[in-house]
C-alpha cells in the first residue's frame, strides 16, 4: 500500500459502516487508530511500507461497534465519511471519527487480506 504523494492510488477497499455506540456522554466506535502524517511511520506494525503515514486500526474492542461492523485490526482507513485519511495528522483523523453530530461513520478501508484476495483471484502464489 505504498503510494506516491500526488499520484492516484489504487487500492482494494471495503466500505464499513459503523453505528456509534453511546457510552455515557460519549459516542464510541470501539476501535483505536494509529498513524498519521505527524507520526513516525516506522513504528506502525501494520503497514507494509514503513514510510506509510496513513491511519491504521490498531485495536478493536471485542463486540464493540467496529467489531460488529467488520473492521479488523490492521485495516488502513482511507476515508471517513468521504474525507481523505491518507494525508492527515493523527489528531485530524481522530476528530473526523469522533464528531458528536454524527451517529454513523462510513469508512473506506483497505487491508492486506483484501489485496491478497484480489491477487489470489488473479492467480498467484498459493497461500500457505
Amino acid at each position: 500500500m505504498s503510494f506516491v504523494p500526488g499520484q492516484p492510488v489504487t487500492a482494494v477497499v471495503e466500505r464499513v459502516e459503523i453505528q456509534k455506540l453511546r457510552q455515557g456522554e460519549n459516542l464510541i466506535l470501539g476501535f483505536s487508530i494509529g498513524g498519521g502524517i505527524d507520526q513516525d511511520p516506522g513504528q506502525n506494525p501494520f503497514s507494509e511500507d514503513k514510510s506509510d503515514k496513513g491511519i491504521y486500526v490498531t485495536r478493536i474492542s471485542p463486540k464493540g461497534p467496529a467489531d460488529l461492523a467488520g473492521l479488523k485490526i490492521g485495516d488502513k482507513i482511507m476515508q471517513v465519511n468521504g474525507w481523505d485519511m491518507t494525508m492527515v495528522t493523527h489528531d485530524q483523523a481522530r476528530k473526523k471519527l469522533t464528531k458528536k453530530k454524527e451517529d454513523v461513520v462510513r469508512l473506506l478501508v483497505t487491508r492486506k487480506s483484501l489485496e491478497e484476495a484480489v491477487k489470489h483471484s488473479k492467480g498467484c502464489y498459493p497461500k500457505p
Partner: protein
C-alpha cells in the same frame, strides 16, 4: 553477493558453518570498462566473493553522438542562386567540402589538397566562427595560396566539380562572400554540398547564420580529443574525411604519393578531378610545394590533425550520403585497413597521426574492425607510436588504442599487453602533461583492467605510477601537509575517474593484488582523503567516488587475515566458548540494552564516554597506509556515504566495506562493530533496508549480520531492524513490492537467522513482525531451494524456543509449519545449525551503549568525516539525521511493541 558467498550464507550447508563463523566478507568489485567518453561504455561489475569466484556483468552504454545534427543540413539547395556553377568553382568546391566534413567524404573533392588544407585550417579553428574570426576570405586566400602552388589544381577542381556532379553551386549555402571566390562552387553532389556548404560557411564569414547554427551543433566535436572520442559515434563516416586528409598529405608530401597514394583511388581522383595532374605533375607540384608544404603543413598539420578529426566527427552524421557519393564515383575509395595500418608507419608524422585517428574512428563500436586491426598487426605499431615524441602522434595512437581496448574481445586487450603496451602507456603517462593524453592513457588502462589476466600486469607496471601521477595529486592528499595551507579538496577529473576505475578493477584480483594496493605508498591515504573531501563537499554521487569506495571495500576484504601483523590482533575471546564470554556479555546487557530501554538518554551518554575511553585503542602515532582501512574512524566516513549518497553502487560499496570490516575475529573488527553502533550507524543501515536497490539491500543485510556478531548489536538489530528485514521478504501471495533477487532474499533470511539465534527475544520480535506467515510461505512454496532452506532454518530456530510455542500455537501455527518441507534436505539443515551457533558467539563485550549511544551530543556531528575520533560539531547535520533520531527514539516504543521489551505503548494511539 557472489555465489560463493551465498552458499556460505545458507545455513544448511556444512560450509555454512564456516561461513557463519566468519561472517562473510564480500569483496565486490565493480569493474568498469571505460572507453572514450563518446563511446559506449561497458560497465563490468565483477563480484568476487573470495579471490576465487568472480561474476561479471557487462553493460554497455552508448552515449549519444552529436554529429547527427549535421545531417539535417545536407540537402540544402545548392544554389539559391540556382547556380549550377560547375565552372570555376572548383576551388570553392573544395572549400565547401572541407567545410563539411561530411561532404568531404562524399565529394571526391576532399581529395583535393586544397580542400584538405582548408579542412585543416578549419579544424584548427574549431570554434569555427571565432577562429575564423578572420574573414573567410582570408581562409580562402590561404587555400588559394596553397592552390597556387597547385595552380593547376584550381582548374582541375573545376573539372572535378563538373565531372562529379553538376550541382548547383553550394553558394546558396555559402554566404555570399564565398560566392565570389567560390562561386566557383563546385558542383559537388548536392547532398554533399548541402552539408558541406553550411559547415563551411561558419568558417567563412559570409554565412553567419548558417555557420552559427551549425557550429553549435558541431562545437562539441571541435575539441580535439573529444572529437576523437566522439568520432566514435560518427565512426564510420569519419573515415572518409580522414582519407581526404591523408590523401592530401600523401600527395603533397610524398611526391610518390607513397603507398597511400598508390593504393588509394582517391589519389586517382585527385589527379583527375582536382587537376592533380598525373603523377609527374604531382611530383612537380610536390617539389615545388615542399616549401609550402612545410610551411603549410606544419601549421595545418599541427592543428590539422584535430581538424581532420573534427571534420570526421561532423561527417559522421552524414555518412550515408558520402557513401553514396563514393559509390557513385568509382574513382574514389577509402583506404582499406591494411593501407591505414601501413600509414601508421609513414615517415610523415601527420600521416601517422591521421592514420591513427582514422583507426580510432573505424574501431569505434566496431568489433570486427578491432579484430582486423589486431590481425593485421596494427596494435604493435600503435603501441610503438606511444613513444613518439610528437604529441599529436602519441595522442592519436593512444586514442586508437583506447577504442581498440574497449569491448568484450579480450584478445585485443591481450594483444596490447603482448607488445608491452602497458609499460608503454605508463611511460607515456609519466612523460606527458597533456591532460587529454592522460585521459586517453588512463582510459585505455581502465579498459585493459577489466580483463582478469591483465590486472596483475597493470599492478606490476603501473600501480605506483598511477598512484603518484594521478591518484595522489588529484585527491588533494599531501604527504606532509603544509600546516599553513588548508587541506586541498579532491578534483574529480576524468583522469582521476579513469585511474580510480582502473585501480578498482585491479583491486579485485585476489589477495596478492589487494596486498600490493594496500602497500602502495600513499594510495589508501589518498583515497581516504578524496572520499573525505567528497563527504565534506557533499559531492558523493559521482563515478570517482564510487570507484574510490569500491577500492576501499575491496581492500578491506580479509584485512584481518591478510594485513601484516594481523595475528597480533586476533581476538582470543573469539576462540573461547560462548560460555566464557557470558559474563562480559551480561555486563553489557545490563548496562546497555535493558538499561537503554528504561533509562533515558542520559545514561547512554555515560555509556558513550566509557566506551570512548575504554574501547578505542590508544595510538601513539597517526596511522597511515593500509592501517587506515580498518581504523574505527573510517566508520564515520562510510556512514556518511551511506547517509548521503544517491548512487546505489556507492551505497552498496560503503555497506560492503562495513560488512568486510565487521567480519572476522580480530580486535579491529570488534572496534568497528562497536563504532558502527556508537556512531548510530545501525539505524542508517536499517533505513537502507528500504532501498529500492536490490544490491544495496543485500549488502546492508549482510553487514547487519556481521555486525550482530556483537551481542549488543544483535539485540538492537533484533529490536529495530526486524520489521524492515521482514518487509523485504516476499509474502506468500505476492512477490515483494520490490522484486528482490534470490540472493537478497537468502541474505536477509540468513541475517534473520543470525539475529534470532541465541536470542528468544529477537525470535519474539520476529513473530511480532508477522514474519512467520512469510517464512512458512517461502518454506513451502518458494521456487528457490536456497530460499527454502534458509527460511526453514529460521523456522526451526524459532520453534526451538519452547517459550514461544504457546504464542505460535495461538496464532494457528503448529509444529509442521516449522519443519523443513519435504523437498528441503533435512540433513543440511541439521548440519547448518551448529554452524550458526558458532557464529553467534558474542565477540564484543566492551560496548555498552546500544542505540542509546545516540546521545544527543553526537547527533549532529557524528558523521563528520574528520579523522579524529572526536565528534566534530561543525559537521552539518546529515539530512537524514533528524529522521534518524526521530526514528531511533520513537522506535523504542516500537521495540516494546515488538515485545522484546515489555513496553507497549505506541506513541499515539487513540480510541475513538
Amino acid at each position: 553477493m557472489p555465489a560463493e558467498v551465498k552458499q556460505e550464507q545458507s545455513p544448511s550447508n556444512a560450509t555454512s558453518l564456516a561461513m557463519m563463523q566468519e561472517p562473510q566478507e564480500v569483496v565486490e568489485e565493480t569493474v568498469t570498462i571505460e572507453e572514450d567518453p563518446g563511446t559506449p561504455t561497458s560497465h563490468v561489475s565483477v563480484v568476487t566473493s573470495d579471490d576465487g569466484t568472480t561474476r561479471r556483468t557487462e553493460t554497455k552504454v552508448t552515449k549519444m553522438v552529436k554529429t547527427v545534427t549535421t545531417r539535417t543540413v545536407r540537402q540544402v539547395p545548392l544554389g539559391p542562386d540556382g547556380l549550377p556553377l560547375p565552372e570555376g568553382t572548383s576551388p570553392l568546391g573544395s572549400y565547401t567540402d572541407s567545410i563539411d566534413r561530411r561532404y568531404l567524404k562524399n565529394g571526391s573533392d576532399r581529395f583535393i589538397t586544397p580542400q584538405a588544407t582548408s579542412t585543416l585550417t578549419r579544424s584548427y579553428n574549431n570554434s569555427y566562427n571565432d577562429s575564423y574570426g578572420e574573414t573567410p576570405e582570408s581562409q580562402y586566400i590561404r587555400h588559394y595560396g596553397l592552390h597556387d602552388g597547385y595552380a593547376d589544381l584550381t582548374d582541375n577542381y573545376g573539372s572535378l566539380s563538373r565531372g562529379v556532379n553538376y550541382r548547383p553551386p553550394r553558394y546558396p549555402y555559402m554566404p555570399n562572400s564565398y560566392r565570389p571566390e567560390n562561386s566557383y562552387t563546385l558542383p559537388i553532389r548536392k547532398d554533399d554540398y548541402g552539408h558541406v556548404a553550411q559547415p563551411q560557411v561558419p568558417m567563412g564569414s559570409s554565412t553567419v547564420d548558417l555557420n552559427r547554427s551549425q557550429p553549435e551543433r558541431f562545437q562539441p566535436e571541435p575539441y580535439g580529443l573529444e572529437d576523437d572520442r566522439r568520432s566514435l559515434g560518427p565512426e564510420e563516416e569519419e573515415p572518409y574525411e580522414l582519407e581526404p586528409d591523408y590523401s592530401t598529405a600523401n600527395r603533397r608530401t610524398l611526391p610518390g604519393a607513397n603507398r597511400g597514394r598508390t593504393h588509394r583511388e582517391p589519389l586517382r581522383d585527385g589527379p583527375r578531378v582536382r587537376g592533380y595532374p598525373d603523377d609527374p605533375i604531382e611530383a612537380e607540384l610536390i617539389d615545388e610545394r615542399h616549401p609550402y608544404i612545410h610551411g603549410m603543413y606544419s601549421a595545418p598539420l599541427a592543428q590539422p590533425e584535430r581538424g581532420s578529426m573534427a571534420s570526421l566527427d561532423r561527417m559522421g552524421g552524414r555518412r550515408s550520403p558520402s557513401i553514396d557519393s563514393i559509390r557513385k564515383d568509382p574513382r574514389w575509395r577509402d583506404p582499406d585497413l591494411p593501407e591505414v595500418i601501413a600509414m601508421l608507419g609513414h615517415p610523415i608524422d601527420p600521416v601517422k597521426s591521421n592514420a591513427a585517428a582514422y583507426l580510432q574512428h573505424l574501431c569505434y563500436e566496431n568489433d570486427k574492425i578491432k579484430k582486423d586491426v589486431r590481425q593485421l598487426k596494427g596494435i604493435p605499431v600503435l603501441v610503438g607510436l606511444l613513444d613518439h615524441p610528437k604529441s599529436e602522434v602519441h595522442r592519436k595512437a593512444c586514442g586508437a588504442l583506447r577504442n581498440i581496448s574497449y569491448g568484450k574481445d579480450n584478445d585485443n586487450k591481450v594483444a596490447i599487453k603482448n607488445c608491452d603496451g602497458i609499460p608503454a602507456l605508463i611511460r607515456l603517462l609519466r612523460k606527458t602533461n597533456d591532460m587529454e593524453v592522460r585521459e586517453l592513457i588512463t582510459g585505455t588502462l581502465w579498459n585493459l583492467s577489466s580483463y582478469e589476466p591483465l590486472k596483475m600486469v597493470i599492478i606490476n607496471h603501473g600501480l605506483q605510477t598511477l598512484t603518484n601521477e594521478v591518484i595522489i595529486p588529484h585527491s588533494g592528499w599531501e604527504h606532509e601537509p603544509n600546516e599553513d595551507s588548508k587541506p586541498r579538496d579532491a578534483e574529480w577529473t576524468t583522469v582521476f575517474k579513469n585511474t580510480s576505475g582502473c585501480l578498482r578493477n585491479v583491486s579485485s584480483d585476489g589477495a596478492e593484488a589487494r596486498r600490493r594496493l594496500r602497500e602502495c605508498e600513499g594510495l589508501v591515504d589518498a583515497l581516504l582523503h578524496a572520499l573525505q573531501s567528497a563527504v565534506g563537499k557533499k559531492d558523493m554521487d559521482n563515478k570517482s567516488v564510487e570507484n574510490c569506495v569500491c577500492i576501499m571495500r575491496n581492500l578491506s576484504y580479509h584485512v584481518h587475515k591478510e594485513v601484516p601483523g594481523a595475528e597480533k590482533y586476533q581476538d582470543p575471546s573469539a576462540l573461547q566458548a560462548p560460555g566464557s564470554a557470558g559474563p562480559q556479555r551480561k555486563k553489557k546487557d545490563d548496562a546497555g540494552c535493558f538499561g537503554g530501554k528504561k533509562a533515558k538518554g542520559r545514561k547512554n551518554g555515560e555509556n558513550d564516554k566509557s566506551y570512548d575511553t575504554l574501547d578505542l585503542p590508544k595510538r601513539t602515532e597517526p596511522s597511515k597506509g593500509f592501517e587506515l582501512l580498518y581504523q574505527p574512524e573510517v566508520v564515520r566516513l562510510y556512514l556518511s556515504l551511506l547517509t548521503e549518497s544517491q548512487n546505489y553502487n556507492t551505497l552498496e560499496a560503503a555497506a560492503g566495506a562495513l560488512q568486510n570490516l565487521s567480519a572476522g575475529q580480530w580486535t579491529w573488527s570488534n572496534y568497528i562493530r562497536a563504532t558502527v553502533r556508537k556512531e548510530k550507524g545501525l539505524p542508517i543501515l536499517v533505513e537502507l533496508l528500504r532501498s529500492d536497490s536490490d544490491k544495496v539491500v543485500r549488502a546492508v543485510a549482510i553487514a547487519l549480520r556481521n555486525l550482530s556478531i556483537d551481542r549488543r548489536n544483535k539485540d538492537l538489530i533484533g529490536s529495530y531492524a526486524m520489521r524492515d528485514l521482514v518487509s523485504n521478504l516476499p509474502s506468500g501471495q505476492q512477490r515483494p513490492a520490490k522484486n528482490l533477487e534470490e540472493d537478497t532474499v537468502v541474505a536477509i533470511l540468513n541475517t534473520i537467522h543470525e539475529i534470532v539465534t541465541d536470542s528468544s527475544e529477537n525470535a519474539r520480535s520476529l513473530i511480532q513482525a508477522q514474519a512467520i506467515e512469510k517464512l512458512v510461505a517461502i518454506n513451502r512454496t518458494s521456487q528457490s531451494a536456497r530460499e527454502t532452506k534458509a527460511a526453514s532454518h529460521v523456522l526451526q530456530t524459532v520453534w526451538s524456543y519452547k517459550e514461544l510455542r504457546n504464542a505460535l500455537t495461538k496464532d494457528g501455527w503448529n509444529k509442521s509449519h516449522f519443519q523443513p518441507t519435504v523437498t528441503a534436505t533435512p540433513k543440511a539443515t541439521k548440519n547448518g545449525k551448529p554452524g550458526y551457533d558458532d557464529t553467534t558467539l558474542p565477540l564484543m563485550e566492551k560496548n555498552q551503549d546500544g542505540y542509546s549511544t545516540i546521545d544527543q551530543r553526537d547527533k549532529d556531528c557524528k558523521y563528520k568525516t574528520g579523522d579524529g575520533s572526536v565528534d566534530l560539531t561543525e559537521r552539518e547535520p546529515l539530512k537524514n539525521d533528524t529522521n534518524r533520531k526521530h526514528y531511533i527514539r520513537s522506535n523504542r516504543p516500537a521495540v516494546s511493541l515488538v515485545d522484546a521489551c515489555d513496553v507497549k505503548p505506541q506513541p499515539v494511539d487513540s480510541w475513538v
